[in-house]
Amino acid sequence: MLTPEQIEGITKFQRYMDPDGDGIPYRTLPGISPKASYFTRGSGHSKYGAYTEDSAEYQEVLDRLTRKFQTAAKHVPAAVVDGRGSKAAIVSLGSCDAPVREALAALRRSGVSIDYLRVRGFPFGAEVEEFLAAHQTIFVVEQNRDAQLRSLLTLETAVEKQKLRSILHYNGLPMSASCIVEGVNKALDRGVAA
């Protein structure tokens, strides 16, 4: 965000220029200066903010957006890691957190030690990649039929698909710890390393 003082110091403000290379152009608030105006258009625009139908100019803007997503990965809330050194781990997110913690405590009581990573943002930060690489078996716990978090992990990271095992909950009721404990134990019974 540019302040009125910063705006006065530049010759021409261009909304979609990326002077510092982080992919995130500066913006301005309405009303601060006659030099600060820009038009958020509904059609394609060049990096100067002008209307364009030129392919190269359009692609340049999309490439800048890629840099923006890369920058965003460093700024979104980082994943929270709980425990290190186990062979198996749970990766989960959002409101699964409480049942996962309850399940981890129950598993610990039965002698099973499992690490936990709670994703808090997207694009995934480097810590997600590192955590996936450091574990042999990863239970992806989420509350939808289609394993959306698991899909994102396979798309966005270098993790081997076989390492990811879905524990899904989608029967319309809130998730409980027991379905996670059951899912983990079933896998362990089948000889999966923990």
Partner: protein, 351 residues
């Protein structure tokens, strides 16, 4: 279309307003609409109105949705922030921007498709909110960007370019606005700049939601024989019961009006809107009367134009919500976010 690019340097002889700006300073980029499009005349009227009001360009916010009409926000006041929203969702963007800063002038430009089909829900609720903005609905009865299908404002019996007659009931934005309690309702014609410019100025001075339904013919798809939104038809079928003159703050009311025929309405910003009654029986402060009048004239295939209804007393969005008088970007962070201790106290008060 081919066009001659606008010269970058303005003629030094152009008249200047009190800010030292000329009319060209209120223009935007080159229009890409069809030559003769009514919307370009509306754009020119907005430019004229803003120039005469001597608005600092950065004090204006231009908002629109999608459509031929919505493209026009790029064509006026280049020094203002502008936003092309998702189709039919301009009122939400306007509400958010206005909630954050009530001291800017909000001009929304929309069309009959953007406002009366995909965005009719948004329009209805922004009227109810009495948001302090000017909403210009450029109404041509067709979807011009997609080759001229009937829009929701097309009259029954009005013919398409290929001769097919519309059979569906039209939505009249003026009647819709009156029914939902709009506090400033006007209709005009893109070909009548003399009427339109003061209406735009009065609409901007009005504290609350001001809507102007501007009949703005589509030269490419709806300007033929049998259309009820063509230049020829609108010219022949318009009737103005009340004409409005806008008198800027501190400006002397010089025109001599015959007594009993005019009402001078002081606006919140110190300006005056002088309403001249051309039909002595018309009362622009009586909502039910205005609605009945518009409906009755519509039955006779007449468009009622001019200032149709004005209510200066209705509380606007900010008054109802007791919102901040200071723009949110000028408030110190501690006031915007009082912190978790304060939140705990508030939550504690509900226990």
């Amino acid at each position: 279309m081919s066009f001659i690019a606008k010269p970058k340097v303005a003629n030094p002889g152009l008249p200047k307003n009190s800010l030292g700006l000329n009319r060209r300073d209120y223009e935007g980029s080159m229009s890409t609409l069809c030559a003769g499009c009514g919307h370009d005349s509306v754009t020119a009227a907005i430019v004229q109105a803003c120039f005469e009001l001597a608005l600092p360009p950065q004090s204006v916010v231009k908002l629109s949705g999608i459509g031929c009409s919505s493209k026009t926000t790029a064509y006026f006041v280049a020094g203002a922030h502008g936003f092309n929203s998702v189709h039919g969702r301009m009122p939400s963007i306007a509400t958010g921007a206005n909630a954050a800063n009530r001291h800017l002038r909000y001009i929304g430009v929309s069309g009959d498709g953007d406002s009366l089909s995909i965005g009719v829900g948004q329009l209805a609720h922004v009227i109810r909110r009495n948001l302090d903005m000017l909403y210009i609905l450029e109404n041509n009865g067709v979807y011009g960007l997609t080759k001229g299908q009937f829009s929701a404002s097309a009259d029954i019996g009005s013919k398409s370019k290929k001769g097919e007659a519309n059979e569906q009931e039209p939505i009249d934005p003026v009647l819709l606005a009156l029914a939902l309690g709009a506090s400033f309702v006007a209709r005009s014609f893109s070909g009548d700049k003399e009427q339109l410019v003061p209406l735009i100025q009065a609409g901007m001075a009005h504290q609350g939601f001001a809507i102007i339904d501007v009949l703005s013919p589509c030269v490419t798809f709806n300007d033929h024989e049998g259309s009820t939104k063509s230049y020829a038809y609108v010219r022949e079928h318009s009737e103005t019961p009340v004409a409005a003159d806008y008198i800027a703050p501190k400006q002397e009311i010089r025109v001599q009006y015959a007594p009993g025929e005019t009402v001078s309405v002081p606006m919140h910003d110190g300006s005056n809107v002088v309403m001249r009654k051309l039909d002595p029986d018309y009362d622009p402060t009586d909502r039910a009367h205005a609605a009945a009048y518009v409906q009755e004239r519509a039955m006779r295939n007449e468009y009622v134009t001019g200032l149709i209804y004005l209510d200066q007393k209705r509380k606007d969005f900010h008054a109802r919500n007791a919102s901040s008088d200071v723009a949110l970007n000028a408030l110190p962070y501690e006031r915007l976010c009082p912190g978790s201790a304060k939140l705990d106290r508030i939550l504690g008060s509900f226990r």
